[in-house]
Symmetry: C2
Subunit: 413 residues, 2 copies
């Protein structure tokens, strides 16, 4: 195989740097990858494979950081979008797709009675906190230390441009530490409107952590006892772990849940679903956007959710993720590496213990994989899509085998 080079990516990045601050920003920033090992621009995709602008091909384990779940260019999703697009997308009122998608989301989500639509994960996480405040008349939101719930002022991971006053009503507790949540509630009696939590701890550049036995049921009890709205941020994990929302997998019964990413296989839409008891509060919060009622992403979402369910996509992702884990952990042992493999099978996160949080080995390892056609990001959980085949896994393991060897060689014994 020809070695991967990135001439066209490099030239585009130079052009981009002239007209975009840093060239590429946010979670796609090249500084989060491995210098020289990754493309900066993509050309096209198909199923589990993507091609960069230099023609290099990759098996995709990042799935655009979550949106792609059935694989790139899924024919049924794209066909539904195309059919809607031929009628139109954006009007002075919604289309029938608005009702159909809302009915479908409510029908597949056991706790939910209603839904609203938006464009970003940030939109719906923030909306959920506002509904909680409107419902309770209380100001404060409790979130887990280190958890990402979007870029809005109350929760952005970086505070440049954000005032302390905008975070004044945010308090923190620790994931899997019920005592820390109880303490926060006790310290703010009658002041906490909502608690927001992801279905497992998936903070970037840290090992993931599944909910401990009793954590979610304890949260539910604490929220009920104190009149607090329980919000699930299912933006990253939603529709990768369970069709009824990731709370179903882990025994969490939220009052509100935020979806984005995998909901429409890359078409831009997000959603917040909620309980009947919060419908009135939901109506009181002003929530709108130029494209919130656009029909094409709704048609795509409906096709995506139906196909995911009909084709057993959730189970396929779990099984593929387990095969990947088994194979790679074997290889790590063979290369005498102690690694931590965390998170659910379909959303794994791997670290080298010897990295001690500095990410040197994982950057090298993932860089070697990328240069050889397997796209993992070093500081973020990976996403195993439903398009990954056994052949993909075998091809991947051939690459990771060499990447472990290269990492061993680079870092010595």
């Amino acid at each position: 195989m020809k070695p991967y080079t990135f001439e066209k990516s490099g030239a585009l990045l130079e052009r981009a740097k002239k007209v975009v601050p840093a060239g590429i920003y946010g979670h796609l920033s090249p500084v989060l990858l491995t210098r020289g090992a990754y493309p900066s621009f993509f050309s096209h995709g198909n199923g589990s494979h993507i091609w960069d602008v230099d023609g290099n091909e990759y098996i995709d384990y990042m799935c655009s950081y979550g949106p792609i779940v059935l694989g790139h260019h899924h024919p049924k999703v794209d066909e539904a979008a195309r059919r809607q697009s031929e009628r139109g997308n954006c009007f002075n009122a919604p289309t029938e797709a608005w009702v159909e998608l809302a009915e479908h989301l409510v029908s597949i989500t056991p706790f939910a009675d209603w839904t609203v639509f938006a464009k970003n994960g940030s939109d719906v996480c923030t909306y959920a906190t506002e509904v909680a405040r409107a419902a309770t008349g209380r100001p404060k939101i409790a979130k887990c230390t280190g958890a990402y719930h979007g870029t809005h002022s109350w929760c952005s991971p970086l505070t440049n441009g954000i005032t302390p006053e905008e975070r004044e009503n945010v308090v923190e507790f620790r994931f899997n530490d019920l005592e820390s949540l109880r303490k926060v509630i006790d310290e703010n009696p009658g002041r906490i409107a909502g608690v927001i939590v992801s279905p497992f701890k998936h903070d970037a550049s840290h090992d993931s952590e599944l909910p401990a036995e009793g954590f979610f049921s304890g949260m539910r009890q604490l929220c009920d006892a104190n009149g607090i709205v329980l919000i699930l941020d299912d933006v990253r994990a939603g529709f990768r772990l369970h069709m009824g929302g990731s709370g179903e997998l882990f025994g969490l019964k939220p009052d509100l849940s935020a979806y984005c990413k995998a909901i429409a296989n890359g078409y831009p839409i997000s959603a917040c679903v909620g309980r009947e008891s919060l419908r009135e509060a939901a109506q009181q919060v002003f929530f709108t956007g130029s494209y919130f009622s656009a029909a094409v992403p709704m048609a795509a979402a409906l096709a995506n959710l139906k196909e995911l369910a009909a084709s057993g996509g959730i189970e396929r992702m779990r099984v593929s993720g387990e095969k990947l884990r088994t194979g790679m952990l074997d290889q790590a042992r063979g290369a005498r590496f102690a690694v931590t493999w965390s998170g659910p099978p379909a959303m794994p996160y791997m670290t080298f213990k010897a990295d001690e949080g500095k990410h040197r080995r994982i950057r090298h390892f993932c860089g070697e994989c990328a240069r050889n056609g397997v796209y993992f990001a070093p500081l973020h959980n990976w996403f195993v899509s439903a398009a990954i085949t056994d052949r993909d896994i075998a091809d991947t393991l051939a690459v990771t085998e060499k990447a472990f060897a290269s990492t061993r060689q680079a870092f010595g014994e």
Copy 2:
């Protein structure tokens, strides 16, 4: 012509109310229209015409509240989107369309050196305020009383679910009142990071107001003298009045400008453009979203902006808007109505003086128009797209003539 009825719309709205709070929310809420006169759901569109789910046809003067500028289903825009869609939309890094659109936006915007992309108008208005804060190290943002800059906590028109602390750093002045801006600056010495203003005052349910002679140049001087970043919110008006941004039309030279709506003829994308001096600050603000790098809306935006320029769309919208104004003002006089017609020709806003802010006549008038195939919203400025033809104007005037007569009849002398 068969009278317009709304059986299918009504049935869909009943279904929607079960699964969406209020059925339809935000700026599309039916309570902002005229009871019984408007459809609640649309089916398809073509050029300047749209069809609701009951098959009723309308000449479209709302343009999806701004996104549609070349007309529904413009072949060149849709073809560019379709071609990009065949390659893919959402990847682990941007596509070439990211660079091409950024270069194009910078090239057509006289003051701008860089751009970032997002999904909502709210995203980019908030981002601009954060860049201003990051650049100046100051906390406060000055905005005009009554101006709409999106739904984020610092500026949402309704405060349900929002805490007072989140608005603590927002101060207000009056549009076209330089003295009120000077006062706010004097009262907050060294504390104002940015001033945000729309290119003309277009607050919903109020007459629009063009910038008075000297207002924008005075703002620029005040900002320069006090180290304040001047932000143009061009979300609603951008690419309807001038291809270089609406500041060019009115003599405003901003430091940052926010675009959304008409940028891509309905495909979901927004952008903030800025000066070189703010590039560093722009890089410091964390800004990202699942679909921010999606290529299809970028390809659509590029095609839309090029076609708007090549086809003289801006001039066509102005001329059509003037014909509409001339015709309707004649009719109003004929029906002995004193009306106020405000805003630029392509974005008119009409009120009946006798309504005295209660909107009773305008609701009746717009309802009559809608029932007869001309879609205006009663409490919001209208949008004249580049697809409006002379035939559309003639057909519209035939309807508005009768609507004035009906309003006269309903409200007496």
